[in-house]
Point group: C2
Chain length 177, copies 2
DNA sequence: CACAGTTAAGTTGTGCACAACTAAATGACG
DNA sequence: CGTCATTTAGTTGTGCACAACTTAACTGTG
């Protein structure tokens, strides 16, 4: 039930695919075969832990990510924040507005380029970093993983993300023209 | 820049933590040190690929997951669907209503237990499975991972999810009483 | 300078996740 | 039998992700 390698060479449906793979499409369609589901589940399980841990800071997880970027890089235009987090303005604009309302962040139009809005930390936002320092260890403890195990998993996930991004580009209709 | 084990024993802030770990909190707070971010990124990258692949079927990814459960198990009460997918009625009720509107599922109150609503496939919903059979392979191809690599990653992720769920339980305030 | 093309934020609309709540049905127990 | 706790769906409200669009500012070229 947990691994199920099932390299069954007997293909049931020779019509659509003239054999070539040792695994049937039917097997692949099982929920517990979908890597994406495991990924999704893990991501949401993380969400639950972060929700608890970040409640003290008054942050959601995406807000915490934005704060991480600002603590690490200081002032940044919205565009740059989005590049670090793979988020666009459609997500960031309302999120940053909420952080501004919370008094953690300040937003002002760049003088050099009036299109750009520079996001910076308020004193309160800077101060919050002290409390945030304790977060990663609590999260790491919740995983029960050793550090090297975490590093390896992260490497695999990053490799996966790169592959998927590349695939999304040439799967997108209107890119072969 | 990529791994940074940094087992630096020189702790900068001896006040809060009387040493004990070889890694400083500061290091852990870097964005590229957060597994959760890699996980989140991978999950969203998958989302992008699924969005493209599932467009032909007229399904979103969560809707696809519900269909997977129904194709595999047939009729199920909403509660059971939620158990398979770790989703509650707050998410499923509107989602199932959309699938019903799309003509893929049918919902009816159970006669035996009037609280329960049984979700089943329409003929159209059953027929859609044929097209869905091609999906997993396209996704697997997009990952560029070998099957055994996928299996191993999935095993790690499931282990992680279990650990996080367990941690969420005893982190939740009001469980030690 | 004029103007087409590009870029940065923001807005709108849809859908998902989840907490908190409501309503209705069921089950257990005195 | 009546009452109360539990179970099951559904609703409401908040926040995130993303596509599609708008607006304003910049850039390059003739």
């Amino acid at each position: 039930m947990t691994t199920t390698p099932a390299p069954d060479p007997a293909v049931q449906d020779p019509v659509q695919h003239p054999v070539q793979h040792p695994v049937r499409d039917e097997d692949f369609l099982r929920l517990d075969q979908q890597i994406c589901f495991s990924l999704n589940a893990a991501s949401r399980a993380f969400g639950g832990v972060y929700r608890v841990v970040l409640k003290d800071l008054g942050l959601t997880y995406p807000q915490y990510l934005v704060m991480l970027v600002l603590w690490e890089h200081g002032e940044l235009p919205v565009k740059k924040v989005g590049e670090h987090l793979r988020l666009d303005s459609g997500t960031l604009s309302p999120l940053l507005k909420r952080l501004e309302t919370a008094g953690l962040v300040r937003r002002e139009r760049s003088a050099r380029d009036e299109r750009s809005v520079v996001v910076g930390l308020t004193d309160e936002g800077t101060a919050l970093r002290e409390q945030a320092l304790r977060v990663p260890r609590r999260i790491a403890a919740a995983t029960t993983f050793e550090l090297d195990e975490i590093l390896e998993l992260r490497a695999r996930l990053d490799k996966l993300t790169n592959a998927l991004d590349a695939a999304a580009l040439d799967e997108t209709p209107g890119c072969g023209a």
